[in-house]
């Protein structure tokens, strides 16, 4: 059991998401950085889809009431176990009673926003409509359907008997698969249905300019600030299904990117869709920083998703090798 000590808002329990419930108006939810969650779970011998705590705001503090293995994936902020520094992306054994603190800061080579606290056995909250992800709008799933609060006691599942060597880790995908344009985080985008309904000038600006992630950005959506995006004629669409990644442009002319908690339907015109393969990058972009959109074709988008799948499979294969190597080296702990 893990006890939440900090009063920081907005940390939630997330797995990879809730699928098959869009028809009831229930969005996907799930980790904003799915690669961080899946890689953390692979390192701990969990199912890829095991639930973890997504931490977007610091400081965050928890006490472990039983011994277990953990790994912090996602963003690299200042973490320590009691008074010992804790390295991100490396498995760490935790003793009963130890306190984990994650504070904002550090001089990471990757400036990112969300830390995932992955635990061997996973956060064992009840399944709701097939997922442990928190559905904030519907107030169900996760831990009591809400963000974590001081005093919450998170149940931890039974760890698999897979060997979990202390210190074994994975090179974060932001380093293995960087994507930058002129020093700015690049995000690949496919045209959406109304792309050609926007003025040529607006479309050109959309690709050429930096887009700032404003403070009105969260798990529901990122509101962007940049040049005005104008349609040739006012558009009023009928409500239709949308997915995380869809970039809507309301009449105000400033785009909104739908993120994991976004509603599953909408009616604002869509200029593009962030490809599924890059949603994890976008999920880690810090408020106040900027992104640049890069136009891709359908085959490129499918290939990019295959690259992500391949990366995860490579992590799975190498971690399995690493377990064997560490056993042989007698570094077993």
């Amino acid at each position: 059991m893990i006890e939440v000590l900090s009063s920081t808002a907005l940390a939630t329990v997330q797995d990879l998401g809730r699928f098959g419930a869009l028809g009831w108006g229930v969005s996907h939810s799930g980790a904003m950085d799915r690669l961080a969650l899946a890689a953390g779970n692979i390192l701990l011998g969990n199912d890829d889809n095991s639930a973890a705590v997504e931490i977007p705001i610091f400081p965050f503090r928890v006490r472990f009431h039983h011994a277990c293995n953990i790994v912090l994936t996602g963003a690299d902020h200042l973490a320590r176990l009691d008074d010992q520094p804790l390295q991100p992306w490396l498995v760490a054994p935790v003793q009963a009673g130890q306190v984990l603190t994650v504070e904002r800061g550090g001089s990471s080579r990757w400036q990112a926003s969300r830390v995932y606290l992955c635990v061997a056995g996973g956060i064992d909250v009840p399944l709701a409509l097939g997922s442990r992800s928190t559905q904030l709008r519907g107030q169900f799933g996760g831990y009591q359907g809400r963000t974590l609060q001081q005093g919450d006691r998170l149940p931890v599942g039974v760890a698999s008997d897979v060997h979990c060597p202390a210190g074994m880790g994975v090179v974060p995908p932001a380093l293995s698969m960087p994507l930058m344009v002129e020093g700015t985080q690049a995000i690949r985008v496919l045209w959406a249905a109304e792309y050609e309904a926007f003025t040529d000038h607006s479309c050109a600006e959309f690709w050429a300019k930096n887009w700032k992630i404003t403070s009105q950005s969260d798990r529901y959506g990122y509101r962007l600030a940049g040049p005005m995006i104008e349609s040739k004629v006012p558009l009023e669409l009928r409500s239709h299904g949308i997915v995380p990644g869809v970039i809507q442009v309301p009449h105000g002319g400033q785009p909104i990117i739908q993120m994991r908690d976004a509603q599953p339907s909408g009616g604002y015109p869509k200029i593009g869709t962030v490809i599924d393969a890059d949603l994890w990058r976008l999920g880690q972009v810090q408020i106040g920083s900027s992104v640049r959109f890069v136009e891709v074709s359908w085959p490129e988008a499918v290939k990019a998703l295959q690259d992500v799948t391949d990366w995860l499979e490579e992590v799975r294969r190498m971690v399995a090798l690493g377990r064997t190597a560490q056993k042989g080296a007698g570094h077993d702990q």
């Binding site: 699928f19 709701a128 959406a192 239709h240 339907s265």
Partner: protein, 218 residues
């Protein structure tokens, strides 16, 4: 011979099939029917009816989406409408005042007063065309076009559950607190979603809502 639907991609996650013509119950019944059909296709993760449209989510994005698109269009051409014998629920609504903070915008756009808007809004029996937006939210068909009002320039960050609102030619009732780009004209109280029930939603496509004027403020 019906027009071919318009197909567009939603990233590599899904595609959207949009039917031609007005949003009518007859078209909507075809949408429900096609939705039920494609859900059984092996490459489809889920299909989600919208207003005059259907979103089809892939299990895995196809290398070439064209064969699936062709199959969808072929299926659309011959699909038979799915008639649903739904049930009707009545919702008492307080129109205007604090319960309807955007009533003034709808009045300004339509040139009607609050009483007229309430009467026009509560006159039809609204079939549930689709669910979406948030858990338990129903998109309703058959709103009188005289009270159609464009969506707001910028979405409102929080409107309360029970809010009755107009977005373009559509109307609906919020099932829980949350952001919305629609114009809230009134309020009702009803629980539309219970995660412990199967299905978890109070209403399904094919059911109907009747709004009853409880009071008009302003």
């Amino acid at each position: 011979m019906a027009h071919d639907p318009v197909i567009s991609m939603l990233g590599t996650t899904a595609l959207l099939l949009e039917a031609h013509g007005d949003t009518t119950l007859a078209t909507q019944q075809k949408i429900w029917s096609l939705s039920a059909q494609v859900c059984s296709w092996p490459e489809v993760l889920e299909a989600v009816p919208g207003m005059n449209n259907l979103m089809v989510c892939f299990r895995k994005p196809p290398l070439d989406p064209q064969p699936l698109i062709t199959r969808l269009c072929d299926a659309w051409r011959i699909v038979q409408p799915m008639a649903v014998e739904g049930r009707t629920i009545e919702l008492p609504v307080v129109y205007g005042g604090e319960a309807g903070p955007h009533m003034a915008d709808v009045m300004a756009h339509t040139g009607l007063d609050a009483q007229q808007i309430a009467e026009i809004h509560s006159a039809p029996l609204y079939p549930v065309y689709a669910l979406g937006s948030h858990p338990g939210y129903c998109y309703l068909g058959g709103m009188d076009h005289r009270i159609a009002t464009p969506r707001r320039k910028t979405p409102v960050l929080k409107i309360p559950g029970g809010a009755v609102s107009i977005g373009g030619f559509q109307t609906g009732v919020s099932a829980s607190d949350g952001p919305s780009g629609w114009n809230t004209i009134g309020s009702t109280s009803m629980s539309f979603f219970d995660v412990t029930k199967q299905p978890p939603t109070l209403l399904q496509p094919g059911d109907s809502i009747r709004f009853r004027i409880e009071r008009v403020v302003g």
